[in-house]
């Protein structure tokens, strides 16, 4: 009995995080200049080219920093210095009808080139700022929060 319990614990320990891997990847960091970080579940780590980005991650750049990210739906996002962007929700699973890309720019500058989610379901793409909400129709745009 005890052995089963241990087995189950170990199984879940491995099985749960594993099942939550690849499909949940939102994007990959394409380039980093200067200081830039990724905040995930309260932990802040340095942003590194090639690292994966997940929904709920928060990207932040320092006074000399900039970051470029390519998302799984081909959305291209970059941010300038002193900027903070949260990837609030990223779902790209057309076969399940799950499409959503919600991000919020709380400070600084960002450049977006929207991807497949905007093409398949424009109403599922939203960029929030402290004062307004932006919606897109397959397009390239800039956002500044001062």
């Amino acid at each position: 009995m005890k052995r089963w319990f241990v087995f189950c614990c170990v199984f879940f320990l491995y099985a749960v995080p594993c099942s939550a891997t690849d499909k949940d990847v939102a994007g990959v960091i394409n380039n980093v200049n200067g200081t830039a970080t990724v905040e995930r579940s309260g932990q802040v780590v340095e942003a590194v080219t090639g690292n994966k980005i997940y929904q709920k991650d928060i990207l932040q750049t320092g006074p000399d920093g900039s970051v470029g990210v390519i998302f799984r739906d081909d959305t291209v996002l970059s941010m300038g210095p002193d900027s903070r962007i949260a990837i609030d929700e990223f779902l790209y699973s057309p076969a399940d009808g799950k499409l959503s890309f919600v991000s919020s720019v709380s400070k600084g500058t960002a450049a977006f080139l929207s991807g497949k989610i905007a093409k398949l379901s424009p109403e599922s793409v939203r960029v929030e700022t402290p004062l307004a909400v932006l919606g897109v129709r397959g397009t390239r745009f800039l956002v500044a929060v001062d």
């Binding site: 690849d22 990847v25 990959v28 394409n30 380039n31 200049n33 090639g50 900039s66 970051v67 470029g68 990210v69 390519i70 799984r72 081909d74 291209v76 970059s78 941010m79 300038g80 210095p81 900027s83 057309p94 076969a95 009808g97 600084g108 500058t109 960002a110 450049a111 080139l113 929207s114 497949k116 398949l120 700022t129 402290p130 004062l131 307004a132 909400v133 932006l134 919606g135 897109v136 129709r137 397959g138 397009t139 390239r140 745009f141 800039l142 956002v143 500044a144 929060v145 001062d146």
Partner: protein, 201 residues
Amino acid sequence: MRRIALFCLLIFGAFFSISGCAPKNTFVLLPNPDGSVGEISVTTKKGTQVVSQPNYATEVSSPDKIPSEPGEMDEGSIKDRFGKALEAQPVPPVTFTLFFKSGKDSLTDESEELIPDILSTIKARKSTDVSVVGHTDTKGSAEYNRKLSLKRAILIKELLVSRGIDAGFLDVDSHGESNPVVPTGDNVAEPKNRRVEVTVR
């Protein structure tokens, strides 16, 4: 005493005007890389402003005001404000579309010829993020199509791995019939929709 209060007020006022007590959010529409122009809508509690001309911007100074009438932003101002963000924009991903011989697990001759291009693009971009996504037309059930497109995507993944691409860089997915190139009704055979897309990021 009063003088001190006045002084404090003055300092306070100056502090707020410098530290951005007057917040401003700016939204600029740019032309797409292919020259086409999309559209953005910017919404506050009071209303929505649509921007549909390239390099036009709308500004929001309060959630309780309608976003400003779109106005053109000159290139110099765009560069001043957004230069660093634009410099960091990754090169957009490149997508290759592969077709299979009807009812077979092998590629058409034209698609076979694309494989070397895919390999060289991955190398040139030093890409570590390549997705292989299978698609079908709407003929047959959604579940069947999902499995079929996954099977074909896996075939392409194996092909790329056999030609030297690190399997860890390849992400396989299947969109079944839900992401067509040519939208059709249900149960329609459309060869253009039966494909595997390889996207190099």
